[in-house]
């Protein structure tokens, strides 16, 4: 649809028609000149490293081997029998399932609660958005101290109520949930912003029609709000899932993957294998694996997103 208006404007504009041929040709090169610096940077620092990881994953490259030797798919086969990798996969799946739905639901609730004209709306929106802007390391540190026995907020108050300090981050059962809570806290305000933007696009007449038909608040939400927020929800789910797999700073600062690998997530495991065990071939294989997972998620959601948007227009 946009293309049609483009064409119409182009045809209607006498300036465009009067433009000499040489000038028009220059305009065709110009977009690529504009893109060149950023594309060169992107290629050097993201696409080249990815290709390089693909290649490195086929070699045995460790600190103890002086020359990389080609080993085919052995690094990948090694992952299949690596018990830590299996645990890391389980942790990552748990982290994904435990953070994404809760964060997105929380964001939707916050947006619905704050999508009204009230003197307190803006201050609360701002306050809820603030955790998003905090550096992840800073946010992780805040929660690290909140959880710390004998120092943090939770402990000081819980001890008064329940008695006995719980070492959240030191317990194999509680450490991953504790990191999840921080992650939910950090991201809910970010996704809330997308939902607030989505809510603005829903025409008020729909709600008026709903009210005339006698629809209750919950019915209006089910029949109008939630379906029309579909593309937003899908988009937020995509970003949230990618973020869940990209989580590393909080693990690095709060638990170091422990206790006993119960909080070791995929990206942190790559960090360990590459920069602590110096098994670069295995780290590359892990990178390629994670990339495949992320691209599959992205392709899936973009496919659905595309279809949804076409239906709506």
């Amino acid at each position: 649809m946009q293309d049609q208006t483009e064409v119409r404007r182009f045809v209607a504009s006498p300036v465009a028609l009067a433009r000499p041929a040489a000038l028009r040709r220059r305009w065709r090169v110009q977009p690529y000149l504009f893109l060149l610096p950023s594309l060169a940077f992107l290629a050097t620092f993201t696409y080249y490293p990815i290709l390089s990881s693909l290649e490195m994953s086929l070699y045995r490259v460790t600190a103890t081997v002086s020359h990389p030797t080609f080993t085919g798919l052995r690094n990948y086969a090694g992952l299949a029998t690596d018990p830590i990798f299996r645990q890391v996969l389980r942790n990552s799946a748990e982290f994904l399932a435990g953070t994404v739905p809760v964060t997105v639901a929380l964001a939707l609730v916050l947006a619905l609660l704050l999508n009204r004209a009230h003197a307190l709306t803006t201050p609360f929106r701002t306050a809820f958005f603030y955790p998003t802007l905090l550096p992840l390391v800073g946010a992780a540190a805040i929660w690290l101290f909140v959880y710390t026995p004998g120092y943090g907020l939770i402990d000081v108050y819980l001890r008064a109520i329940v008695g006995g300090g719980v070492n959240w981050l030191g317990s194999p059962a509680l450490a991953l949930p504790a990191v999840m809570i921080l992650t939910i806290w950090k991201n809910a305000g970010y996704y809330m912003l997308f939902y607030l933007a989505g809510l603005q696009t829903i025409p008020a007449e729909l709600y008026e029609a709903g009210r005339l038909e006698g629809a209750s608040g919950w019915q209006q939400f089910r029949a109008i709000t939630f379906p029309l927020l579909g593309p937003t929800t899908l988009f937020v789910l995509l970003i949230a899932s990618i973020n869940a797999f990209q989580s590393v700073d909080q693990i690095w600062l709060m638990t170091g993957g422990g206790p006993d690998n119960t909080t070791n997530l995929l990206l942190f495991y790559i960090y360990q294998v590459a920069f602590m065990f110096f098994d670069l071939g295995k780290a590359a294989a892990l990178t390629v694996f994670l990339l495949a997972v992320l691209m599959a998620i992205a392709a899936l959601s973009f496919g659905v997103l595309e279809r949804r948007i076409h239906y709506e227009v």
């Binding site: 992107l42 620092f45 490195m56 990206l267 990178t287 994670l290």
Partner: protein, 274 residues
């Protein structure tokens, strides 16, 4: 009777909504309040419900030469990365928003999807590359690694901003004889300024936030604040880390105060439409 029932249900619903809201507010604001308490806490031990007031840890943190060096490094590298990012990305964003050319969608998608690449995995190859270029443990290396974090914001928000500007304004300027550069600087840029400011601030925070890449590239002499945090948490008393986390969160607070006027959800959402 039935009216009374209606009001009772309405009141109950409102009470539930208020309760939910207060619970959420406590969850989100609680840790931020702790941060505030820490800023001035000397020690905070059971069974005190509030910490004892003191600024001694501030003096301790700000008197530590490693800490001040990290603060300086952060406030030099993050603005440098933001500016470099703006210089290379804003022309691209303009092209994505305004010009029609083959491959536009694919290229825009390649910028957006690069953010989904597993960063730590990339750092292995990037470190090798920077090592060959003699950029490991240099200021330039740290800036480059931070720019990677900013690309998404610097492409996506300005693209949405430029797209939101009415084309007729630019065409009107052209029609009265302004060249493309003059049109850009006198018409497009002033209108786009709030959106670009938001992009710059987000890019700054993204660069400032970068921890893992800077740790790998900048160790041992080019440590930024997030990297320093790790050392502080591991080997200093807790109040030091707490005070430092207050310092780490100050730039984002300033951001909110500066940008609140311009910060509309639209800027974030607009760039994502292809």
């Amino acid at each position: 009777m039935s009216v009374g029932w209606y009001w009772a249900v309405g009141g109950l619903r409102r009470a539930v909504a208020l309760g939910a809201f207060l619970a959420l507010a406590a969850f989100i604001l609680g840790p931020l309040l702790t941060l505030l308490l820490w800023a001035f806490a000397g020690s905070w031990l059971f069974p005190n419900l509030l910490p004892e007031f003191s600024l001694k840890w501030w003096a301790y943190v700000l008197g530590n030469a490693d800490v001040t060096k990290a603060i300086r490094m952060s406030f030099l590298s993050a603005p440098a990365a933001t500016l470099l990012s703006a210089v290379i990305c804003i022309p691209a964003a303009y092209a994505f928003a305004r010009l029609e050319f083959p491959g536009r969608r694919v290229l825009l998608l390649s910028f957006l999807s690069a953010n989904a690449f597993p960063k730590i995995g990339l750092y292995v190859s990037i470190a090798t590359l920077l090592y060959r270029l003699n950029l490991m443990d240099t200021f330039a290396g740290v800036v480059l690694i931070q720019v990677i974090n900013t690309l998404l914001f610097m492409i996506w928000i300005p693209t949405g901003t430029f797209r939101g500007i009415n084309r007729n304004l630019e065409e009107a300027a052209r029609d009265v004889g302004a060249g493309p550069l003059r049109t850009f600087f006198q018409v497009t840029l002033p209108i786009a300024l709030p959106g670009l400011l938001v992009a710059l601030l987000f890019a700054f925070l993204a660069a400032f936030d970068e921890a893992q890449g800077t740790l790998i590239v900048g160790t041992p002499n080019h440590i930024t604040m997030p990297v320093m945090m790790y050392t502080l948490v591991l080997s200093y008393p807790q109040p030091v880390g707490a005070v430092f986390s207050v310092l780490l969160s100050l730039p984002s607070l300033v951001f909110l105060l500066v940008a609140q006027r311009y910060l509309r959800a639209g800027y974030l959402a607009a760039g994502y439409s292809l």
